[in-house]
């Protein structure tokens, strides 16, 4: 099953189980979803529950918030994270604030899914990884699945959550194959997960970047460096405990993020390790991030804009991690 199918499967299950769940967004229905995630759902659930919207991000996201207030469990799809900027007022000023500023009266159980990330030569208005940046906003949760299991289970968990949850789907992962157990259900969305244990250095990443880190870890292992690779999974809240426990063992950390460096999630992870595990560190936490540029179209320039496996390997080696 692909990552894409896993998300579709989760939506299908949720809609079968709960009449309040519906999907809304541009071209989710008749077109089949811009990345084909919702393909087939229109035939199964009809246009009332698989709602094509006009191009109007701010209003259909706001409508998702309103429908959630009204007792529904909407899934709102935004085609690409760059377009979500059009809806950011609704996300930050409404979804994220309503529960708190109403003194606990109105919670907003909306799920907002969107594609994100570079690597497909879509250039400067379709390629950015804004998920880490969204992690700044209190009142929302921000998830970034890397595996088929998480693509499926996080969506189910998000739909059970009483608060607004944003799920960023790195579009490079849609075709990724993986196993999904027959009994797969919702997953824990509070914890980061160690995807590969290791004793020499902690590499922190998420989503598409995670797979590059795992590849790099393999190469490093051949050179005698055992890297532990952590998948953040949730960018807000962050699971400090898992991070600190790991760094306390490895004493070194590298954060790999395809998003822009300054003020990105990599900065937050670094700052937290500084605060909570400074005396465990044998050297500074390093960051390897997307270049701070609007994403260029040409393949070689885009490649240069994103952290690659060899960069990760080099970064770890540059940290002079002591071998074994």
């Amino acid at each position: 099953m692909t990552f894409r199918e896993a998300i579709r499967e989760a939506m299908r299950k949720a809609m079968q189980a709960d009449q309040r769940v519906f999907l809304m967004g541009e071209d989710v229905g008749r077109y089949g979803g811009c990345f084909a995630v919702s393909k087939g759902l229109l035939a199964e659930f009809g246009p009332e529950r698989i709602r094509d919207t006009p191009l109007s991000e701010s209003t259909f996201v706001g409508a998702g918030i309103g429908a959630a207030l009204g007792g529904m469990r909407p899934i709102v799809e935004i085609m690409t994270s760059n377009f979500s900027l059009l809806a950011l007022d609704q996300i930050m000023n409404n979804a994220a604030t309503l529960l708190h500023m109403s003194g606990g009266q109105f919670n907003v159980p909306v799920v907002i899914r969107m594609a994100t990330g570079g690597g497909r030569q879509l250039a400067a208005q379709h390629s950015h990884s804004l998920e880490g940046w969204y992690g700044h906003i209190p009142g929302i949760k921000v998830l970034a699945p890397a595996t088929v299991d998480d693509a499926h289970g996080m969506l189910l968990a998000a739909l059970q959550d009483p608060d607004p949850v944003l799920i960023f789907e790195n579009a490079l992962l849609y075709n990724m194959e993986g196993e999904l157990g027959a009994d797969a259900g919702q997953v824990n969305i509070d914890r980061a997960v160690i995807r590969r244990p290791g004793r020499d250095v902690t590499i922190v990443s998420y989503a598409a970047g995670l797979w590059k880190c795992l590849d790099a870890a393999k190469q490093l292992a051949e050179r005698g460096v055992e890297a532990e690779v952590i998948d953040l999974r949730s960018l807000r809240p962050l699971d400090d405990a898992t991070l600190m426990e790991s760094v306390t063992r490895t004493h070194r950390a590298l954060v790999v993020d395809e998003g822009w460096r300054s003020g990105g999630i990599s900065a937050e992870v670094s700052a937290r390790i500084m605060e909570q595990a400074f005396y465990e560190l044998d050297g500074p936490v390093a960051r390897l991030c997307g270049a701070e540029v609007p994403m260029p179209y040409s393949a070689h320039m885009e490649r240069a804009s994103l952290p690659q496996v060899e960069d990760i390997v080099a970064a770890v080696e540059g940290m002079r991690v002591r071998h074994g």
Partner: protein
């Protein structure tokens, strides 16, 4: 006393309540009991009072930052509103919202929204929820003339029409958006023409005449409840006071304000109520004054939310079963 006359007296009472409540608010603001931004509704009472008559308890209201009048007319207690503005935990939003962010689940009052235009999509969603579940409830969305220039107005009108949603759009056209006169905000100042461009049924009504507003709102709600889709009601009104407590009113002539004050909705209604005596008015004023005083007393007696609760409700206390 006829039912009609009793009802008129009730409308009068509600408008006077809003007026006196807000006059006190202005005083309390000078005394720094109330802080932040505060926007008075004085002069516009007929709109809120008239519109709310047409709503049923199960309907929803999405309002703006100029919402004291809407909240009172919707039946929220003056005490919970005043306590809110005093920043007390007994306030309708635990003192977290203040004047611009009154909320009340009981009366389905979804704010108190201070991003101009930001409430429109929320109303669309509430109405969508009702429509999907086959509820015949109305979502009443109130906004100003200025808000209609925002993109979200366009998007929301289109969606409401496209999906035939049960929304009552109420535009309080008080001719200014802060200091920007209607004709500096909109190339077309007949606002019902905008509704027409989405094929949304529309009417314009004298917003200084509470009976006219009520009748128009009733007709509008009937349209919405009967499944014909959204309705746009423009209420032509005027704010007698400054935009907020900080506004030096450089942008309009005193004479214009005075001209509109001649159309004050409260005396206008008084003149229409048959055999209304000075005594009756005095009785209402006394009752209202007591109610306002009680609200203030409630607010004064209120307590502060413990600082330890600051992060409470950033997220829900628990996930539901």
């Amino acid at each position: 006393m006829s039912d009609a006359r009793a009802h008129q007296l009730q409308l009068l009472r509600e408008m006077i309540l809003i007026r006196r409540f807000e006059e006190k608010c202005a005083e309390l603001y000078s005394q720094t009991k109330i802080r932040g931004f505060m926007h008075l509704y004085i002069g516009e009472e007929a709109v809120g009072v008239g519109v709310m008559q047409a709503l049923r308890p199960e309907d929803a209201v999405v309002s703006t930052y100029r919402e004291h009048g809407h909240a009172l007319a919707r039946g929220m207690s003056g005490g919970s509103i005043m306590a809110e503005m005093f920043g007390k935990v007994e306030g309708c939003s635990r003192g977290r919202g203040g004047s611009m962010h009154l909320f009340d689940a009981k009366t389905r009052f979804y704010g108190g929204n201070a991003i101009v235009g930001g409430g429109l999509p929320i109303a669309i969603g509430l109405a969508l929820a009702d429509k999907m579940r086959g509820e015949s409830r109305v979502t009443c969305c109130i906004f100003g003339d200025g808000a209609m220039a925002e993109g979200e107005f366009h998007e929301s009108m289109n969606l409401a029409a496209l999906w035939k949603l049960p929304v009552l759009f109420v535009c309080e056209n008080n001719r200014y958006a802060m200091g920007t006169r209607l004709d500096y905000s909109h190339s077309v100042t007949d606002l019902t023409r905008k509704a027409a461009s989405y094929d949304i049924a529309a009417a314009s009504v004298d917003g200084m005449d509470v009976l006219a507003v009520e009748a128009a709102a009733q007709a509008a709600c009937e349209h919405v409840r009967s499944g014909k889709g959204a309705y746009f009601l423009e209420c032509q009104t005027y704010r007698f006071r400054a935009h907020s407590m900080y506004d030096p009113e450089l942008y309009r002539e005193k004479a214009e304000v005075e001209e509109w004050k001649k159309r004050d909705p409260i005396p206008a209604l008084m003149q229409k109520i048959e055999g209304l005596t000075e005594e009756k008015i005095a009785e209402i004023e006394t009752q209202v004054a007591e109610e306002v005083e009680a609200a203030i007393a409630f607010a004064e007696a209120g307590t502060l939310e413990p600082v330890g609760e600051l992060t409470r409700f950033v997220y829900s206390d628990r996930r539901p079963a």
